[in-house]
């Protein structure tokens, strides 16, 4: 059976270039970058190369890139490290109602530590309430965190508008952007966009799992979360994950090669799937069409069909998607995003996500629509009544 992988927001297939460079760092150039001998120097070169690639892509300096174990660490570090470093400057921290747990939970932690947390609501398409955002910004706000691209419905925040408002009304606040679903899909220039902290994870764009980076603008003070041997300027101790970092660099390089074509292709896939879904009866497509939303995520509710059941029925035909967010397999509650956009229970229970990479084809989208067309009437016939 042909496998149609439409769960690229959960993770992506590592590319050949990524596998090649990682294998080399594991088989031959396995040194510890901290070692004085040549094996160490060789290994360090991979880390330098990756840092150079990333700084070129983001148009920042190399010293502003810190490698992490992935998105969750980056978010935790930016939020907890950033807020704690600013503790004396003020007490308010702001985020949105529609965040990944890797952002929501550090905020919950800080709230217990005594910070005042404000969560900005979103509308039914996941669009941030800008008036409420402006209202929430105060002189004593020390940190704002927002998700560039929402992982479940692909809603996008207007990063530059937010940073302009922050500069105007909360000049002391650090602006953290969770770009885990956005890197490789958007050109992101933290300096011109006014971003102070930016977290990225490699496995969302054909890199390996367990590695990512946090951009920390020069002059921004954050406390380290991890103490130890003083690697990465003492900001993030621990022997560098050389294979992961090398893979991250290679993946980033590829993601921004032929960038415009790839993104256009993703948008075309998205529109084709959205159009097909909209033509079906009893389907609600979440999020915004075209360039108003992210290029690679389509979320839709099929009332009357359990999300998990639909997932497994498609799986049976080789089509792999996700129900809710992949991290929440073990929780039954409606996902954070679907709660935030106030999707009715019937929709939340029947929502699935299709997410593309540039490797996907129109044929695969058509195949998926065909499978849905065949499965839905059968699945709808059999249900609890």
């Amino acid at each position: 059976m042909n496998e149609i992988y439409l769960d690229n927001s959960a993770t992506t297939r590592p590319s050949e270039a990524v596998l090649r460079i990682m294998e080399k760092t594991l088989r031959e150039d396995f040194g510890n970058p901290s070692s004085m001998h040549r094996k160490g120097v060789e290994a360090e070169q991979y880390v330098r190369d990756a840092r150079k690639i990333l700084s070129r892509i983001l148009k920042v300096s190399e010293g502003e890139i810190y490698f992490t174990s992935g998105g969750t660490e980056g978010n935790n570090w930016a939020i907890i490290g950033g807020a704690m470093a600013q503790r004396r400057a003020g007490n308010r921290i702001i985020t949105t109602e529609m965040e990944h747990p890797a952002v929501a939970e550090p905020f919950a932690f800080l709230e217990k530590q005594g910070f005042e947390v404000v969560k900005i609501p979103v509308d039914k398409n996941g669009v941030l309430d800008l008036a409420a955002f402006r209202e929430a910004l105060t002189e004593d706000t020390v940190l704002v965190s927002a998700m560039y691209v929402n992982n479940e419905i692909g809603a996008v925040v207007p990063v530059e508008e937010l940073s302009a408002l922050i500069r105007q009304k909360a000049p002391k606040a650090y602006f953290h952007v969770d770009a885990i679903q956005a890197f490789g899909k958007y050109r992101i220039y933290p300096r011109t966009a006014g971003i102070d902290l930016l977290s990225v994870s490699a496995h969302k764009f054909h890199g390996p799992k367990g590695v990512g980076f946090l951009y920390i603008r020069d002059g921004v003070r954050t406390l380290p979360l991890i103490y130890g041997g003083g690697q990465q300027g003492g900001m993030r101790s621990g022997t560098e994950n050389v294979p992961g970092i090398a893979g991250l660099g290679a993946a980033a390089e590829e993601a921004y090669t032929d960038f415009e074509e790839k993104v256009s292709h993703l948008y075309a896939l998205k529109e084709r799937l959205r159009d097909g879904l909209s033509a079906m009866d009893h389907v609600t497509v979440h999020g915004l069409p075209g360039r108003e939303g992210a290029p690679h995520i389509v979320n839709a509710a099929f009332p009357g069909v359990g999300a998990e059941v639909l997932l497994h029925a498609l799986e049976d035909r080789g089509i792999l998607i996700s129900a809710g967010s992949a991290c929440s397999t073990h929780k039954r509650a409606a996902s954070p995003t679907l709660s935030a956009i106030r999707a009715p229970k019937k929709e939340a229970e029947s929502s699935v996500r299709f997410s593309f990479s540039e490797e996907n084809t129109f044929e695969e989208v058509d195949e998926t629509l065909k499978a849905l067309g065949e499965l839905l009437p059968v699945l709808r016939r059999y249900r609890a009544r």
Binding site: E308, H312, H330, K331, R383, A384, R385
Partner: protein
């Protein structure tokens, strides 16, 4: 450090002429569970006692954990063995034992000697008194309390002298393999693994059947059942698990029969399939986790209708248990955490808002007639496509 366990077994001791059958089964099972951990273990039977001698790189916690999974054992006693000579040697050994196992102990104690070797010149009571006195003299923190001692020193004088003071409770029951085989209807819930465990505890070897309903139930739900079977198998020995695809039968019932009877009719087909596999495996009974009134399909009336399709006896060890009692056992045997993982199971997916709670057998049988066209073929297909796993 001791290097021997004295294994205490309860009910087996009550058996008559076939007692050796039970002892052999127990010794065999002990050997099996210990073969899975590091170390060299020798299981020795001697005059109504089983000893486990440990050598090599063995670990105390691991060995005790393995032994607490053997049905038939009521107590595991780490014991120190000395040579039998005269009283002077015995007293010296007793003091050595107390010094090793209970250094600087401040506790109340009692000595209980048993003289199996009647050639030893003192009577049991005399030995008790003499050893007690010696302990009092050498360990000033110790006090005698003959009624409720904190430490009871057991001293057995046989070919050797055995001294022990700790008894780690075993699971009790009868040795695996002494009572026949049964087919367990295993779901991913809390009850059925406990039911299987309880029957296995009586010496029964288990086979199991699990019904899955893709795409309505997931691969993870199946993995969960495999994991549960694994936990039960640590006690019960290897379990042969049949995974039966139930989707088509379920949908056919859905299409043909009144919706509020769906669950009952489904259960009847599960029992029929379970019995089919039971006969194939040589099982002489079925086991379910049912408890009166817990859900609609477990009222007494429902049990009448599901029982009616079986020719083998159906054992329902939880029949009089409240949910909280079942949870308690599942926590004790280690299945609870796995049981509560939230995966859909096939009994709940199409459940009616108001399922029948007092079905009449005649009514259900009439409804089932509507299945006559295809059900035999679907039944045969479910049997043919079942997957069989050996869970150890």
């Amino acid at each position: 450090m001791y290097d021997t366990f004295l294994i205490k077994y309860g009910e087996i001791g009550l058996k008559g002429k076939n007692r050796h059958v039970f002892e052999d089964a127990l010794a065999k099972r002990i050997g099996e569970v210990l073969s899975g951990i590091e170390g060299e273990f020798r299981v020795r039977k001697e005059r109504g006692r089983i000893y486990v001698h440990c050598a090599g790189e063995w670990n105390e916690d691991e060995a005790i954990d393995a032994l607490t999974h053997v049905f038939g054992i009521v107590g595991i006693c780490p014991v120190v063995i000395y040579d039998t000579e005269d009283y002077a040697k015995l007293e010296q050994d007793m003091l050595d034992y107390v010094g090793r196992e209970h250094p600087d102990c401040r506790a109340t104690f009692k000595v209980k000697a048993r003289r199996v070797n009647k050639e030893f010149p003192m009577k049991s009571m005399e030995i008790d008194a003499a050893l007690g006195e010696a302990i009092l003299e050498h360990f000033p923190g110790m006090k005698v309390d003959v009624h409720h001692p904190e430490i009871l020193f057991d001293v057995e004088i046989r070919e050797n002298v055995y001294i022990y003071s700790r008894v780690i409770p075993g699971p009790g029951g009868m040795p695996t393999g002494t009572s026949g085989r049964a087919m367990l209807l295993l779901s991913g819930g809390i009850d059925s693994p406990v039911a299987g465990w309880m029957v296995a505890k009586r010496g029964v070897v288990l086979d199991a059947v699990y019904f899955h309903a893709p795409p309505y139930t997931s691969e993870r739900a199946k993995q969960k059942v495999v994991d549960l079977a694994k936990i039960v198998a640590r006690y019960a020995g290897p379990i042969r698990l049949h995974v039966v695809n139930f989707t088509d039968i379920q949908l056919y019932i859905y299409d043909q029969c009144p919706h509020e009877e769906l669950t009952i009719i489904m259960r009847r087909y599960m029992m029929r399939l379970a019995e089919h596999f039971a006969k194939q495996d040589g099982d002489i009974g079925l086991v379910t986790g049912e408890s009166i009134g817990q859900v609609a399909s477990q009222t007494m009336q429902s049990l009448v209708t599901t029982n009616a399709v079986c020719t083998l006896p159906v054992y329902r060890p939880l029949i009089g248990f409240d949910k909280c009692d079942i949870v308690e056992i599942s926590e004790k045997i280690g299945t609870y955490e796995t049981s509560i993982l939230p995966y859909e199971d096939c009994c709940t997916i199409f459940v009616a808002k108001h399922p029948v709670t007092k079905p009449l057998l005649s009514v259900i049988e009439r409804s089932e007639k509507k299945l006559s066209e295809k059900i035999d073929a679907l039944f045969a297909e479910a049997v043919d496509t079942a997957e069989t796993l050996i869970i150890e």
